[in-house]
């Protein structure tokens, strides 16, 4: 107890120096939490946007489909499978789809695309494709063989709403397949590369066109968030899907480019934050070391009076941790409301079309979103505690090795 009391009072011996150290810690904690929340928010939005356009959080497919992506690896979406997947608690929605490569042609223009067949009714609440339509309608019931194109793709094909689009592909039977579809709408997608090569038709139309029967290439499963993916994978693992010739792929398996981008982006940000935290660590080290150097005589006197070296060590450590803890509490008290407010009010990236185009290059919409994950606060607290502990190590060892005779040396 005496050690903690001494440590607490020692922290406040030089209020200005302690204040500056705490201010640096507050600043670091604030930046760490806000930047991590920003990174997590942006990445979450990229993932959520992508899973709601393409794979879902988890994709159920025939074994080998992910590697080959051909109709040969299609699967049957049986009522038994449907019932079993519907029982998985973390699955919020599911939708069977057929995906195939195709060539689209309008007059003299043609373009290779990723052609998706989906059931618009099942996609409600799962995909955002219908909400992304900027012109026309998303696969209306009254237009047989309707097709919706990415906005840029439609421009490249010079296709207008109501135009006929000739679709070429290879059927399941390996015969050439071609059919006329009617353009019912165009949609804006966050990824410009995808927008140039993305087309959607009704599931049954595509199954017929590709002579695919009642097969599908995949079933997209949607969770509340990407954090629930492990739960879904664990639940699906109990269904012994491998025996049924199926495989379960998480979004990062289906979209490895996106997953890799997030890892690299996180790495860049963490390097910056580590530099920031190391600077704060040196600040704490400087404060504690200066304090120890100034107190050599006093520490020697304490040893002379019978305080064990280990308790001197503990006292110096406690001083460092007290400062870090105060900085952490104030930093979090400032960062949490900030992140909460920013979470409710995403920040549009200024810079107009140019910035929007730059953001689009990495599949982002020009908006900064903030998301505070459960791991952020314990992570920040642990990081600051480790930094404070490391920063105090040298001064604490030095203090505990002070010689009692130094207490009298001033004579």
């Amino acid at each position: 107890m005496i050690v903690l009391r001494l440590a607490w009072r020692n922290v406040w011996r030089n209020v200005r120096r302690t204040g500056l150290t705490i201010a640096a810690t507050v600043f670091a904690v604030f930046l760490v939490v806000v930047f991590i929340a920003m990174g997590d928010g942006i990445h979450s939005k990229m993932v959520e946007d992508s899973v709601r356009i393409q794979s879902g959080h988890v994709q159920l497919a025939g074994a080998g489909y992910l590697e080959n992506r051909t109709l040969e690896y299609g699967m049957r979406w049986t009522p038994e499978l449907e019932a079993a997947v519907s029982k998985v608690e973390a699955v919020e929605a599911w939708a069977p789809r057929v995906t195939s490569a195709a060539l689209l042609s309008v007059d003299d223009a043609s373009h290779g695309v990723l052609l998706i067949g989906l059931d618009p009714a099942r996609e409600v609440g799962l995909s955002t494709l219908a909400e992304r339509v900027t012109e026309g309608t998303f696969l209306p019931d009254d237009v047989p063989n309707g097709i919706v194109l990415g906005e840029q793709l439609a421009k490249n094909l010079a296709a207008e709403i109501g135009d006929e689009v000739l679709v070429f592909s290879m059927a399941y039977t390996l015969q050439n397949a071609y059919e006329l579809f009617t353009l019912t709408g165009t949609m804006k997608l966050p990824d410009p590369a995808l927008e140039r090569s993305f087309a959607v038709v009704e599931l049954a139309s595509l199954q017929t066109f590709l002579e695919f029967g009642d097969r599908v290439t995949e079933v997209a499963l949607l969770a509340e968030s990407a954090a629930d993916v492990p739960d879904i994978e664990a639940s699906l693992a109990t269904l012994d899907l491998a025996a049924a010739g199926l495989e379960v792929n998480a979004w990062d398996d289906v979209m490895p480019d996106l997953a890799q981008f997030i890892v690299i982006d996180d790495a860049g940000m963490y390097v910056l934050l580590i530099i920031l935290i190391v600077i704060v660590g040196f600040g704490i080290l400087n404060t504690i070391l200066m304090s120890v150097m100034e107190r050599q005589r006093e520490l020697g006197a304490m040893l002379a009076l019978g305080l064990r070296p280990l308790r001197i060590f503990q006292m110096i450590y406690a001083e460092s941790l007290f400062m870090a803890a105060i900085g952490l509490v104030i930093g979090l008290a400032l960062a949490l409301p900030t992140v909460w407010i920013l979470g409710l009010n995403p920040i549009p990236i200024p810079g107009g079309e140019e910035m929007a185009a730059a953001a689009a290059l990495v599949g982002m919409e020009p908006v900064i979103v903030f998301e505070l994950r459960d791991s952020t606060l314990p992570g920040a607290a642990l990081t600051i505690a480790i930094v404070a502990a490391l920063a105090a190590l040298y001064p604490a060892i030095k203090a505990s090795r002070a010689r009692p005779v130094d207490a009298l040396r001033s004579l």
């Binding site: 005496i2 005589r297 002379a304 019978g306 070296p309 009692p404 005779v405 207490a407 009298l408």
Partner: protein, 226 residues
Amino acid sequence: MLEAIDITKTYETRGVETKALRGVSLAVADGEFTALAGPSGSGKTTLLNLFGALDTPTAGKILLDGQDLGELDATALADLRLAKLGFVFQAYNLIPVLSARENVEFVMELQGVPVADRHRRAHAVLDQVGLADMAEKRPLEMSGGQQQRVAVARAIVSEPRIVLADEPTANLDSKTAAQLLGIMQRMNREQGVTFLFSTHDPMVIDLARRVVRLHDGEIASDERRE
């Protein structure tokens, strides 16, 4: 019993060796009231530091109750000082973040004396040294003399077997010095506490029952008085 056996202490500063003690042997029995006297640089503070296990000799042995202090590690030495020794430093060396009462209680707190007992004894000894009304003041709020009295109070409050005092009256007026020496004499007589002073002060030398005079790191004389 404190014993110095053929002690040599050499300091080296920038390659220059200075012999502070040259083959000193001295035994201080339990219950003595002894002054180490001598001019500055004679080695009296060095000898006091060695007896207090605050420093180690270059050669020779220091024994406390037959235990060779050179065989103990830093933790064992701290425990030994806590259990048996009390110190009065010339520079007071009070802990600045503790009040006078807390400074006086410091050693007792390390010894695990219960809070109520600590408070009672601290107040009693502060009263004895005339600082009852300064109990909650911190060292920087007190004069040098007041700090020295707190340092003496801290050294004697836990009733150690041996008190080592380095110029304990150096910053005190003669009346306060006499008062403190009276308290120490009474502890020596009534409780058998051993006192070993390093001093220039004639008042301390007059009161001592044994005066060991040092000169150039050697014992020049050893006078016992009845």
